[in-house]
Amino acid sequence: MTSQDAAEKPKSKDLSGAGQKLLAFASLIALIVAFSLLSENFRTVTNMMNILQATSVIGLLAVSATIVIITGGIDLSVGTAMTFTAVTAGMLLTWLGLPIAVGVIGAILMGALTGLASGAFITKMRIPPFIATLGMMLVLKGLSLILTGTKPIYFNDSPGFTSIAQGSVIGALLPAFPVPNGVLILFIVAAAVAYILNRTVLGRYTYALGSNEEAARLSGVNVDAWKMAIYALAGAVTGIAGVVLAARLNSAQPALGQGYELEAIAAVVIGGTSLAGGRGTILGTLIGALIMSVMTNGLRILSVAPEWQIVATGAIIIGAVYADSLRKK
């Protein structure tokens, strides 16, 4: 019966989110042009770098969230997991005095571990992703506060750590483009994740799970193991975000983090990734993250009250998804 329904339905041509990406990209350009016309302070290289710098952390989190959302899941713990990995870096570097590389790798591994834990709750304990990661969000927030005694850990004993985010390798080579390292990391990670999603088995199963998990299972795919691996990958990206954040602030701030997950999910959605799973791209997510930071930056430069900036962000999310649903009709 259902199959007959499907046979009769006029086939809707869907270009796998390409339309949405184009729409999002056009909106981004329109926003940049509009703000540039309205304010000469907006259209400076310094300000562009500010926008990119502001995008680096949220962009990394959005990349992490994209991976999970394509499986049809959700990760509410990316914000506090990021903080937890920053705290991990702080403990390794400042408390134990280990080399920077150890702190960075430790933070990334800790991120992967938190992702793996969420994945295990979801697959082995059959807890819905929303609940499992909501629990993880609170557990990790609490642990960050406990481990640090609610006080920030500073990286003053690890000179050079801040340059992970604040330095500029590109600027050293091309003085005209002082792109901060945090931004460079975002683009490298985004490119790597895009490659994984499109070219590797892990990526293939990410889309397969979101598209039809039962079909994947019946095809002999070890759904549980792959899902845990996917959450671990997302967690590792969250760990990178934690390192960049800590380097930017020159500290691990244990109270920070909650609220970032919603901004990240907003960027993913604006970028055209379907919350139903099966569809989505990293490029779209990057554009989505940029739209959010251009908005915030532009409105601030135009001296719009911060309260109204929040309202505008909310309106953009609703508008973007509405535009997508219009396009699909």
Binding site: S3, Q4, T200, A208, A215, S219
Partner: protein, 503 residues
Amino acid sequence: MPDLIQMQAIDKSFPGVRALRSVDFTLRAGEVHALMGENGAGKSTLMKILSGVYQPDAGTILVDGKAQSIGGPRAAQALGIAIIHQELMLMRDLTVAQNIFIGRERRNMFGVLDEAWLNASAEAIFAQMKVKIDPRARVADLSVAQAQMVEIAKALSYKSRALIMDEPTAALNAKEVSELFAIVARLRGEGVGVVYISHRMDEIRQISDRVTVMRDGALVGTVAAADTPIEKIISMMVGREISDAPPIVPNLAGAPKALEVRNLSRGRAVRDVSFDLQRGEILGFAGLMGAGRTELARLIFGADRPDGGSISVAGKPATIASPADAVRLGIGYLSEDRKHLGLALGMDVRANIGLTAMARFSDSFGRIDEAALGRVAQDYIAQLAIRTPSDAQEVRLLSGGNQQKVVIAKWLLRDCDILIFDEPTRGIDVGAKAEIYTLIQGLAAAGKSIIVISSELPEVLRLSHRIAVMCEGRLTGILPAQAAQEHIMALATQRETTAGAAA
């Protein structure tokens, strides 16, 4: 040479149901073996066991004469057993080639995929099948028939020696069916054993070598297709004794018409259906799965919009654009999927009964008159003999039969004069079935007009004053009460003879 596959004394139970009772089944290399039976006879369960989806409770499976335990889909694939499920199991957002090789992608040591190999291999399989499908196309953009071909290609890619097809033609038109048969014939020629599950007699005659019939989870028998008349197969399928008393058909001459349906159509699902329903009548709808009965009910109830046709209620032309319209006109639809569509399982009996009649039990501020609602709920609990400790019991804790009674109460409270029951006893045990039957007969005797859609022939025969039979969206006939089962089955499998007309 031993048979390719021997299943011996397979038992399987699900909570509350004995799905298979000591079933034997053999498949030879190079044969097409049709597996037949009514809905719920156990065909799909048996084949899901063979393909590793379910584990049997008892029994053995021999492949090439060697006992094997098939622990999962992967183990079945390794033994060369592939299944094409009734509902297509494809990932819509992936491409054709990606779907075919899911779980077996060629990759290097870093897990990087070889997409070119994927597409070339898929291309090679399609060439072998003599089918033209672009391996790079997204499955969501394919027609159902093409998606079916992708499933077959996927099965072939496992180098399958045993291929199970569960109702593969349900969604195909005549031309596509003949293409499918050509492929099946070619596979048989290459020594593949094919299990073919279908309801369609003409197909069985056309392509199968042997026919095995199942009924109520047990094996009825295996016969050669060539020298067994269709009537024999049908009688094997429906041969169960009907122990219940036949319905007493009231004299409805002169009874007013409650519902007149004329030329109702919607795509291929419902085609030019006309019938009358009288006050006090129980009209049974028989047919096989996918015959269009539920789709017809949804049109009458306003859940879908028809392409054409008209409906009159109580002699007056009616416009039914939504379920709300239907309810206003006194039409109630009791869905076959009552857990998802009929009940709020976590709420109590009282709230469920009152759910669609809240306007009557609330004041202008929206405050609910719980006392009045409780009294009404108590009335229905007594009247329909709903077994529940109180009207405050959560509905999910009731048995299937009692849940169904709660749904009935809900619609009675809305003063519905026309009640459409879609599979009213699905998932309900035998004792409770008889109660539901008595209830439905009582409603008719009290002047309600009733449509009963059921895939169980005994149920249709037990209840109906007249029996409407559908096949492929068309009403193929209306028979009097107690019509011969063979007659009903013949109408239910009466496909259109003009090939290609359905396209």
